[in-house]
Symmetry: C2
Subunit: 318 residues, 2 copies
Amino acid sequence: MRIDVKQCADILSKQDNILILTHAHPDGDTLGSGFALCRALMKIGKICAVINADEIPKKYSYLYDDIAPIKFKQDYVVAVDVATPNLLGDLDGQYHIDMCIDHHSTNTEYADNLLLKDVPAACQLMLEVIKELGAEIDEKIAGCLYTGLTTDTGCFRYASTTADTYRAAAELIDLGADNGKINRIMFETKTKTYARLERLALDSMRFYENERVAVITITQEMYRLTGSNEQETEAIAPLTRQIEGVEIGITIREKPDGTSKASIRTFESVNAAELAKSFGGGGHAQAAACRFDCSVKEARERLVEKCGEFLNDRNNLC
Amino acid sequence: MRIDVKQCADILSKQDNILILTHAHPDGDTLGSGFALCRALMKIGKICAVINADEIPKKYSYLYDDIAPIKFKQDYVVAVDVATPNLLGDLDGQYHIDMCIDHHSTNTEYADNLLLKDVPAACQLMLEVIKELGAEIDEKIAGCLYTGLTTDTGCFRYASTTADTYRAAAELIDLGADNGKINRIMFETKTKTYARLERLALDSMRFYENERVAVITITQEMYRLTGSNEQETEAIAPLTRQIEGVEIGITIREKPDGTSKASIRTFESVNAAELAKSFGGGGHAQAAACRFDCSVKEARERLVEKCGEFLNDRNNLC
């Protein structure tokens, strides 16, 4: 069932012992919206907690470091920024999910659903929910919500960022969000291991199809040399598409078992999801992924060949 | 003489044949505020033009590509985003400057001065001036102003970005600024020559003082190998400071005559301007520069030694 912001707040007001689920491989938007909601519900007297299937990266600790852990039996379960239950990772199937608050166009509407597909971050939606709940937005809640806004919009850079997103950011800064500090943590800090990996990744970049395709390959050996890991590879994928003239940017990483996974980034001229689909993968129009049962070199050959077909076939315009 | 926004608009309303000067090595804020003012003045019937001492990088062409060049004898001269006349480059001394609209704390107040030091971009101030002028803000003017806001704040990332900056951005998007396109041009596009230079620059990075100092060195040979140039080096400087644990990030580039120039980036723990001052340079607390009459290697040695002193002398806290 679809619900609106007011219905969402009304339902939550009547519940107690509320468990909030966030998606696996957590990012700033799922954690920011989860902890903001948790803090707001606690302010209006609810027992509440946020859980995640995976370890939360240390850089997000300011979102929750003053919340004491609490054990309780949940009466109500809310998933935030979770498009489908299988994105919950190991938490999938462990709870009956009563409500979902999300902004993904791929949302499968698996619960009472507050879904706004045209907002670029769940936190933008959560700000409205918390205002409707009547909870005071202190600087901690403002910081949580700002974190989701900035991380899901690439620091307000992506085309999905709307005037309302900027207005929400202004409101949250007025309420005490430390935008300078949050953006420095999220966008200005590379671990030494990531910095080393990035350097090797850039060294590995090769161009094809008149330099319209750029491919980075990352091997297990590179993780060993740099002390980095697969999780840190996520930040590499956008680098390929930033080169002038590149229409398809691909990052292929070697899995521990010798197979490969490719992340594909494009602009309007090529549909990344269609390209990934050729190899059994999927995703969005400008960001998609697929897997290969072969080495990174062979995956690169197969992908580059397919890129050539796509670039020469203007019927694949998004 | 200091003037306020209303006085500034009143004076401009009474002038005609207005020449707008922008600073040399032009950036998005000087060009954005200059062309926004020019367009607004043209809308209220003024003859007006923007000039710059240097060639304007191609990526800014959307700011002015529909403005027909015009020759006229100026009756009134306005400098925008120009802290001191010598930043005008070859235009310095060629005109009597009647008015200055700026936001730099280092402004030397060389004309009738509309100066707001706590706004992070001249364009934020210019939006107020244009509203006071009563000119209609069309999507071209909105795009010019948004360009300055986003470039001078590192896409709304720097700590100097205020709630009012976000509100101004929201207003400009409502008025038609194409934020997605502008940010893609400004932040998501690297020239191939820059990408090659960046790779060599990262390869050259060395760490000192328990990895609290990172130094990149760029030689003339690297420009030759990559087809890049000194202008493109500006974007390299912030990379050093992004590494976790680094307190002082330095980029030293070799000049054509074999001397060197260092760009210093720090966080709160070290005053970059003080460090640069040790070598006859200067700048801001977290971004400064100085020159050396020696090779990049020798400059690196001298700088690293001085960094050690600064890091060990906590009296240099900003």
